[in-house]
Amino acid sequence: MDRRPREMSERFQLLGVTILYGLGLAPLISALHGQVGLFIAGLFCLHLAAIRWPRLRPGTFVLALLTIAGGANVLDSYHSVVGQSPGTALLVTMLALKLLEARAPRDLRVLLLLFGFLLVVQFLFNESALLAAYLTALLVVDLALLLDMTIGAGRRTLRERVSVAATLAGRTVLMAAPLALLLFFFFPRLDAPLWDLGLESEQAVSGLKNWLEPGSIEELVVSGEDALRVRFDREPGIPTEAMYWRGPVLWHTDGKRWLPASRYAFPDAAPQIEPTGPDLGYLVAMEPTDQHWLIALDLPTDYPDDAVLTPDFQVLSQKPVDDFRVYRMTSAPSYRTTGLSLDEETAALALPDNVTPRMRELVGRWTVDDPPAQEVVERALRHFNREPFRYTLLPPKLGENMADSFLFETRSGFCEHYASTFALLMRIAGVPSRIVLGYLGGEYNPLSRDYVVRQSDAHAWTEVWIQERGWVRIDPTAAVAAERVDADSRLSSFGASRPVRFRVGADSGLGRALRGLRMGIDALEAGWKNWVIEFSDRKQQRMLDYLGLAHLRQYGLILLLAIGGSVVMLSWNLFLARPARTADPVQRAYELFSRRLSALGLGRRAAEGPLDYSNRIVAQRPDLAPHVEAIVRLYLRLRYAGEQDGGEQIRLQRLVDQFRPRRR
């Protein structure tokens, strides 16, 4: 590599590229394996030191050693070099090595071009809007450095270089934005990956479990994360307090933990759902759960093609939901069901072996006159309402026999306690029962017109079998008297841990403001998720549908892309080719004057002076003589006689403005 003296002046560019890479590497370090992150940080520090003390710059041999070490480090951390994380780790290690090696301007240019990789791989680990904004800013810096390198330093000061490069690169990116958006929305997407590089989701997914035991919902209730976003086709017509989002159904209990039935546990089951009201269609965007179920409004009647409806009305997809997923559902909010097979009934009546005598005695009081099942349910609910049961998110510690101590000692708890105890009591009374896990309610966002269901809305309720009506949803938590809802939870009515049933209205002004803010952020997040993260080939098709081009399929996209791209680029070309606006108002008026005349075929010839021009016009169109002569005289005076009178300028402008020669 030849080293010319001017390369020494490129120190600024070397520093610029170094800072750019530092900023670009920073968000990635934490996403990679600690060992790889450390290695890259080490390389970066060595590079920084080598800028300050050039003797520290490693030679070819050391670089080769470092390259081998970097590869081995990745292999040691991930036991692989293919796949999302190991591949990224290898790429980033190699980029850091290239940075360390950079000497000549050519190396810097290569680094700036390769920076595109560093920008794009980040989104495999984080898809936040903030990161997107940050990386777009880095792209501008990248292009600015490239521009500075291309146009050369010249004799400009550092400050001039920075401002010119930043302005021009920023302008280019702004000009690129419309085309990029167009490409984003209309560029045909792949509906299946070309190859599988091992898309992995390493993060633990928070969400519902498919079992219930004390504490399993509690951890969700303190989580403010979103679980679902729902958009109804029409006004749902049911209050949010009645929106029961159905998840796993639990049948078996050992007295402590409730578990679901196996999918093929009830081969004879043939339940039927008979809607008793209008259907409700809606779109659900569900966060990944790593589980099979697709959350649906009670009770689902129509569901995606790749899913099945189990006999206990769960919608299970074929593959676990390991990525953000959007699906369509139809539900019947009011319904009755029929068909209870014998093995279902047996399972729904099975009792654990820790039922205590006082529990049997309590149930015995309700069943003494052998009332219908409906009556038993109502008596039990009345018990929860009249006795001093409290709703609290901070229940006291329960004894070994959870149901017993909850019923007779602590009488404090939340949905998981109420649901599991109620289901048990019903079974003792001979009423088939099961527990349903899911979410209750949701927050309507008027900005995005979505319902947001959060993890904190997780809920557990029961279903009991009543002849003639089938499985009936009973929510024993709702039976607790409102005045016994724990005041503690009221304090945190903004946070995640508010009790669903007893949502306290935002009564203070601050509360309303905070609520509005949160709604706004929610709407933004929903838009981000809906239009950016989750934009897919299906949404493209829907967009085409909206434009009436659905029948063109992918060709429609290409057509729109071609048309839109041409329009955008043509307008930029017109913008770039725009004639310079004459700064001098006198000259501008004179140009307008000759433009008006040239529309009549009396255009000013090149290098024709004002007087010659005026004489020629008057010779051809004597009728225009007074106007033309007045204008030209005034122009000459302003232009050449050093007249500086602002009033005269305005007079010229007005004369030209009023000069509208007609064709003869």
Partner: protein, 345 residues
């Protein structure tokens, strides 16, 4: 970038430097040469001043551009495959920025006016420098403009301000005696990101005289027997004998400055020379023999020698006669006459 003055003409170092830099355009790719060849057929006649024309601005990706295209293709395929919309958007943004930069690159050459002037005469083997003024007609600042087909392209690209003008030099290696025409000038730019190179060839009318290549040595021309004495002498404008000192006036040759006086802080003082005792010679075509070019070479050497020895000399070519004279101007007048001698044949 400095314009070489007339003094550089007879310094052999200038010529030696020129030969080291191979013309940049010879190294360029086949496609570009093809385009240039196609473009050079037809086209406007050369004028002293010409504007860049939209129909004659060409653009091709550079090596950086092709490399970046590969990077972007990789990110695009990766983003499509991983169905990662943000990665896809950033790829699209980079692609769009490159496309926009292509248009910016092309438009960076539009609306420029080039004006060339005749350069200072040179000897064969030296580089003739044509002063060129690039003016922006469009009210748009231009960065990274580059005159490429010059033996030593300037290292730092100058900035052309909006509505401003830029003075540059175009070099052409003079190969043989005669009039060296500037021909077309290749104006190029890689603005803004170096991903594309746009160029245009603007035909410009400007020329320099290329003097005959002086022979290595030449016979001393016979001195004239008649010596005409001018009674008054030439009052200190000659260069022969020291006459006295006078204060510096603008335009005085630095050779005549009394540097020692300057060092003694007596200000700028010029040494005056006088004397008309110089010998008068004719440098005559008829006194030489050989081919036309070798005759001219010998005569050129005689002219240089005569000027060196401060002789008063005249020049005789078939059909041309230059009266006796002396000094730098006279020398160039004679050399120019030889440069233009029978060049159309």
């Amino acid at each position: 970038m400095s314009r070489t003055g007339g003094g550089g003409v007879d310094r052999p170092a200038a010529g030696a430097r020129a030969t080291t830099g191979a013309p940049a355009h010879r190294r360029r790719g086949r496609v570009r040469r093809l385009i240039d060849r196609l473009a050079s057929a037809g086209g406007p006649p050369a004028e002293a001043s010409a504007a860049t024309s939209a129909r004659r601005i060409y653009i091709l990706p550079t090596r950086s551009g092709v490399g970046y295209a590969l990077v972007l293709l990789a990110t695009l395929i990766g983003a499509l495959n991983y169905q990662n919309n943000l990665a896809l958007f950033l790829s699209f943004l980079m692609i769009s920025a490159s496309l926009v930069s292509m248009h910016q690159c092309w438009f960076a050459l539009l609306g420029l006016r080039l004006e060339a002037r005749d350069g200072v005469p040179v000897f064969p083997g030296q580089t003739a420098r044509f002063p060129l003024v690039i003016t922006d007609d469009k009210g748009q600042a231009r960065y990274g403009l580059c005159i490429e087909d010059t033996p030593t392209p300037p290292p730092a690209a100058p900035v052309l301000a909006a509505k401003g003008h830029l003075d540059v030099d175009v070099g052409r290696v003079a190969e043989r005696r005669g009039r060296l025409a500037l021909g077309a000038v290749t104006l190029a730019t890689r603005y803004p990101f170096g991903l594309f190179r746009a160029w245009t060839r603007v035909p410009l009318r400007a020329a320099v005289d290329v003097y005959p290549k002086p022979a290595a040595r030449a016979p001393v021309p016979p001195a004239l027997p008649a010596f005409v004495h001018h009674g008054s002498g030439d009052m200190g404008t000659g260069a022969d004998d020291f006459v006295g000192l006078r204060p510096y006036r603008e335009g005085d040759s630095p050779r005549q400055l009394d540097w020692k006086a300057l060092a003694r802080e007596r200000g700028l003082v010029v040494k005056q020379f006088g004397g008309d005792q110089a010998a008068r010679v004719w440098i005559d075509w008829d006194h030489t023999s050989g081919s036309d070019e070798s005759r001219l070479g010998i005569m050129a050497r005689q002219v240089l020698d005569a000027e060196e020895q401060n002789l008063t000399f005249g020049l005789r070519l078939p059909g041309v006669e230059i009266e006796h004279g002396r000094g730098d101007g006279h020398k160039h007048r004679c050399l120019s006459a030889m440069a233009r001698y029978r060049i159309d044949g």
